[in-house]
């Protein structure tokens, strides 16, 4: 019984009184930060930082890239550009294969429909085409 009563009681958390203060502080901080990131000054500052990083790192990156290309050339190995070019071509081939696959599917569907369709019953009377054929046969015989 005593244990049950104990479970119903709210657990004491010494941090509880601080949470309210913390939340109020964080709300105010969040609003200030949203205003800050929305300002022109922030956009300008981040732009400048990014630009500086890209400008400063560019010569090192280019030097490394050139050295790598030369090394790979010496080792008779394909460069990064070669591999990328092959990958691009593979995508083009894949796209064409996909189109071929779709066309084959369409042909298969047509064939399946043609096979599934009931065969035509021959009509009793002579067909106009038969007449034409008979006439042409007679004409051929006459010529002979």
């Amino acid at each position: 019984m005593a244990e049950d009563a104990g479970h119903d009681r709210k657990a004491f958390d010494p941090m509880d009184p601080w949470r309210g203060v913390r939340d109020v502080y964080m709300d105010a901080w969040a609003k200030t930060m949203v205003e800050t990131v929305n300002s022109e000054a922030y956009a300008q500052a981040t732009g400048t930082i990014l630009d500086t990083y890209l400008t400063v790192s560019a010569p090192f990156r280019e030097a490394l890239e050139k050295a790598m290309i030369k090394t790979l050339e010496q080792l008779a190995m394909p460069s990064r550009a070669d591999v990328l070019s092959i990958a691009e071509r593979m995508t083009n081939i894949e796209m064409r294969l996909d189109d071929l696959d779709a066309k084959l599917d369409a042909i298969h569907a047509l064939l399946a429909r043609a096979v599934a369709a009931p065969p035509r019953k021959p009509s009793r009377g002579p067909q106009p085409t038969d007449k034409k054929a008979a006439k042409s046969k007679k004409a051929k015989r006459g010529k002979k």
């Binding site: 009681r9 958390d13 990014l50 790192s57 894949e94």
Partner: protein, 355 residues
């Protein structure tokens, strides 16, 4: 007799909390668990067909294709069992497909909206039609996925598109003052050519930083504080773990597409002005005739409502609806209230149009 508070051991409590915190911060949650089949691939893109859960006679005949953004994983739509849009829609009888754009490699740095909208999307749709055996389908685009589906609907809408659902769609970029992103990528401050010359594709980490920096305190501090406060609640921890797994799984954005997003859309608002040209074809939004549902998140700080509303007056769809809901950019579809509000509304709108 008044109840006296129970004194807990704060050290043991803190140790337990730290253990849980370490676990959720260092492991991946089990996400995207709904059974699906890979039915088509092209380069990095993959088309999945979810295994239907209802018998054929109870299913809607018109299939639904989900298209998410290019720079995030699409499994946010199938976050975790019991809380998944995909799972919900399957239970409502939809024949469901998901287009995963994949992560572009260095060889894909020149991929543009042109390629996604006119090479990838039409082929995925072709495959969907071949599998489902029907000529009409519905499209759901979310975030950048909504830009792609809108462009597709304007250029290839006559290929059987019956219903178009746009979720938090950033389409109108005219209100520069309301768009923090627009300020950051202004040509005075952001040299896009230098960025793309360096990286090729826009790194996922930079995009993630941009999205989080819009609300830095909430994203970098508040999220963890909330977790700490509720770390004893397994439901909150599970939900946080799944969301954190998704948030930290970043995908780069193909350089060509990023350039179009910044230059053509954020800086010049070409889509709404009718000046966007995709592989020689002008994107005319009035050529959209499909039934349209636009969903706006009222508290969306990434895509404010002013970006999604104007499309309603541009399209020629006789059947169109604008649905506003309280919540954030991701929260409306993946938050705790999504299953009570957004998903039923999407289903309520789509079901009678999918017969």
């Amino acid at each position: 007799m008044a109840d006296s508070p129970v004194i807990t051991n704060p050290y043991a409590d803190a140790a337990e909390r730290l253990k849980t915190l370490t676990k959720v911060m260092t492991t991946k949650a089990a996400i995207a668990q709904t059974p699906k089949e890979l039915v088509w691939t092209l380069n990095k893109a993959k088309l999945y067909h979810y295994v239907p859960v209802l018998p054929m006679e109870k299913r809607h005949p018109v299939p639904l294709l989900l298209v998410f953004a290019l720079m995030n994983r699409p499994y946010i739509l199938d976050l975790r069992p019991g809380h998944s849009f995909v799972e919900y829609m399957l239970n409502q009888g939809y024949d469901l497909y998901l287009l995963d754009w994949g992560a572009p490699g260095p060889e894909d740095k020149n991929l543009k909206f042109d390629d996604y909208c006119l090479d990838y999307l039409p082929r995925a749709v072709r495959k969907l039609k071949a599998i489902s055996g029907v000529e009409e389908f519905s499209l759901l685009g979310w975030c950048i996925g909504a830009i792609l589906t809108t462009i597709y609907a304007a250029l290839r809408g006559d290929e059987g598109l019956r219903n178009l659902i746009l979720l938090t769609a950033p389409l109108d970029f005219s209100s520069k003052q309301k768009l923090t992103f627009a300020r950051w990528v202004d040509e005075r401050y952001f040299d896009i050519e230098k960025v793309l010359a360096t990286f090729g594709n826009m790194p996922g980490e930079m995009i993630d930083y941009g999205a989080k920096a819009l609300k830095p305190v909430e994203n970098y501090v508040g999220s963890y504080v909330k977790l700490w406060d509720n770390i004893g609640d397994p439901r909150v921890v599970e939900s946080w773990h799944a969301m954190n797994t998704w948030v930290t799984d970043n995908v780069p954005l193909a350089g060509g597409a990023f350039r179009q997003l910044i230059v053509d859309l954020y800086r010049n608002d070409k889509l709404m002005r009718g000046e966007l040209v995709i592989r020689g074809e002008r994107v005319d939004l009035s050529r959209i005739h499909a039934n349209l549902l636009t969903v706006i998140a009222d508290d969306d700080h990434i895509t404010p409502s002013c970006q999604s509303e104007p499309i309603m007056s541009k399209v020629s769809s006789p059947d169109k609806e604008l649905f506003r809901i309280r919540g954030g950019h991701i929260g409306i579809m993946a938050g705790s209230g999504a299953s009570k509000h957004t998903w039923p509304h999407v289903n309520g709108w789509l079901a009678p149009r999918s017969g």
